[in-house]
Amino acid sequence: MKQLFTFVKKEFHHVFRDRKTLLMLFGLPVVQITLFGFALTNEIKNARIVVIDNSKDVASRQLIDKIEASRYFEVEKSVTHLDLENKFKEGKIKLAVLFPENFNQDLLHLNKAQIQVIADASDINTATTLTNYLSAIVLDYQRQLARDATIPLQILPEIRMLYNPELKGEHTFIPGIMAMIMLLVCVMMTSISIVREKELGTMEILLVSPFKPILVILSKFIPYLIISLFNVTSILLLSVYALHLPVQGSLFLLYAESLLFIVTALSIGLLISINAQSQQTAMFGSLMATMLPTLLLSGFMFPIENMPLPLQVISNIVPSKWFFIIVKSIMIKGEGFASIWKETLILAGMTAFFLLVSLKKFKIRLA
């Protein structure tokens, strides 16, 4: 026991000596939450658009005034039809609105008029968002015109947004960031620090010592486990105090599940480090095996149900997918263990599998 303690102390020295890495380990969650929480939004303001008015009558002018008044658009009017393509190619404008001749006349006499909207769909997200904004403005104008007419037989949908009435993104990215950070610390850092000892040859020395090899591994795990728990705490604090996203369910349960996931990550890190001969391979392996699947297939950035079937199937073997579901259930829906025991069991099973394989492959002799 005393031996183990000494070794854990040694590992702590290694970790804390390296100030730059440490800064990154504690700084990354903060930076990520700031960016996700405040920089990545889907609301676009002041987009530059072009309006070409071939009709120049009362109705078109009214509608253009309305477009100009909205905070979404910054209107440019001095562009002609012919310049349009070049303007798009330079990337200076995102959308163009074209009024045909006789806009008002059509509206008054035929009760129906057309406008054309051209969007730069090389950025799909911007294109659809801006088109939607514009449609809403036009619809609003239409309602103004129709104010007097009463419309019969109306079905009025009343929409209630559950769990997240303000439609904030925090609810999906906080669990995702938690998973990412834990994987970063526990898989990447752990595997690299083990392989580093292999590369430098100090592992050899540890293994010939009377100290049990299993304890060598254990002492590698402990510092990263503690750092991860610390990160969980800081992410939760940030989410509660900076983003005002409280933990609905049991805090104890959340920590217990996080601990389970940390152990999962550590066992993956161990498995990678056993197979890798150089730090670069270990790093690449962890990137490919954990970070990217988490980013892509855990449901954190992109909804799983939209993916083609093979990817949906593959997503089931990504541990972070299950952790993501667990954290979402506890933090946002406030559910208890009863509704997440299945996911917990899957995660525990994966952990046991990784640990067994690693221990089986772990050799006392190098090379």
């Binding site: 798009f88 439609l167 150089s278 939209n306 993916m307």
Partner: protein, 372 residues
């Protein structure tokens, strides 16, 4: 010149000796480019629907049929009460509940107005917004159908309507793959170039072989060039591979001149590799170099406009993106590949990236010391 040739020989030998690493460097981007675009899709479909129909009338049934036949929704079954439907939401088996109140049909006809209730699982805000938007517009459509049934078209008070015909230039089918593949390729090249380069130098530091180089008469810039060129070539190679995948796996043919892309790439790689060098001069262990480059790549990635438009970011974040080389590359990729922009159109981005390349490399060379 001869010195550099020898250095290059050494570097390439080292790169090709580590078959594992080489495989990863080449295969990793390929696999990612094959998988990533399939996963990165914000299109919302297959929304699970649970229906609570208290009315059980012709109209309520027609409405549900119309919603299902739109193709966006999947009927998850009828629930007898809202409470039971809500449980489906709690277990992630339903995304939206439609509750149709009793006497829906009767009230609609008699009182000219009737509400229906939609409860949306809004944990994923984007999906909730888009899904409920679809649903509302389908209900609206159904509403006009009923109206047509009851009133002859000419006789009902009509409101003037403005029709919007929208066309999407440069990507008319709004294909997410067209949109994502060029961006992802830019990101992959950045990752491979920046990370590998910084790790490589720090590895020499860690093992101690850098000392051996330092005691030779090799000039600082010789050493730096010797490190830059191999990765520059690797980066260009990976990029070419990526363009081929885009061409043959996704059918994306650059609308613009490929030469413009390569011209930009050649300077861009210098900038990214310069950043890698700079990181390596600041770190002593590979772990450090990796953490630092990971830190930057993460920020670059999120602030690049790959996922969410730059225009939608707040002022301070938009200012930050000006310092993000990846942002310029993704912009140029999308401009040239999708819009067919020429060199003239991207000249602003090109100049900016030139400045990046010069500043980062100069800084790295100044910061690299042959003596400790």
């Amino acid at each position: 010149m001869r010195t550099i040739r020898f250095l290059l020989q050494k570097e390439f030998r080292q790169i090709f000796r580590d078959k594992n690493l080489l495989r990863q460097m080449l295969l990793a981007p390929l696999i990612q480019l094959m998988i990533f675009p399939w996963a990165a899709n914000y299109e919302v479909k297959n929304i699970n629907l649970s229906v609570v129909d208290h009315d059980r009338s012709t109209y309520s049934r027609q409405l549900v049929t119309k919603v299902i036949s739109s193709g966006y929704f999947r009927l998850n079954g009828y629930s007898p009460s809202y409470k039971e439907a809500f449980q489906l939401i709690e277990h992630d088996q339903a995304d939206i509940i439609i509750e149709i109140p009793a006497n829906f049909e009767k009230n609609l006809v008699k009182e000219n107005e009737q509400k229906i209730f939609l409860a949306v699982n809004a944990i994923n805000g984007v999906k909730a917004l888009v899904g409920s938007g679809y649903l509302a517009s389908i209900v609206n459509d159904y509403n006009s159908e009923i109206r047509m049934e009851w009133h002859q078209p000419g006789r009902m008070p009509t409101a003037p309507s403005i029709e919007i015909t929208s066309s999407n230039w440069f990507n008319p089918l709004l294909s997410y793959k067209m949109f994502m593949v060029p961006g992802i390729l830019a990101f992959l090249v950045t990752m491979i170039g920046g990370m590998m380069c910084s790790l490589n130098i720090v590895r020499e530091k860690e093992i101690g072989t850098i000392e051996q180089i330092n005691v030779t008469p090799i000039k600082k810039y010789h050493f730096i060039l010797g490190k830059l060129l191999p990765f520059w070539i690797m980066g260009t190679f990976v990029f070419t591979l990526g363009l081929l995948i885009a061409r043959f796996a996704y059918g994306i043919i650059p609308a613009g001149n490929v030469g413009v892309l390569y011209a930009f790439l050649s300077v861009y790689l210098m900038a990214v590799l310069g950043l890698g060098l700079l990181i390596s001069t600041f770190s002593n262990t590979q772990q450090q170099a990796m953490s630092l480059s990971f830190f930057f790549i993460m920020i670059f990635n999120l602030l690049s406009g790959l996922y969410t438009p730059i225009e939608s970011m707040p002022e301070w974040a938009r200012t930050l993106t000006a310092l993000n080389p990846l942002k310029y590359f993704i912009e140029v990729m999308r401009m040239v590949v999708l819009k067919g922009s020429g060199f003239h159109d991207i000249s602003h981005q090109f100049l900016t990236i030139c400045i990046f390349a010069v500043v980062l490399n100069a800084w790295a060379i100044i910061n690299y010391r042959k003596t400790t």
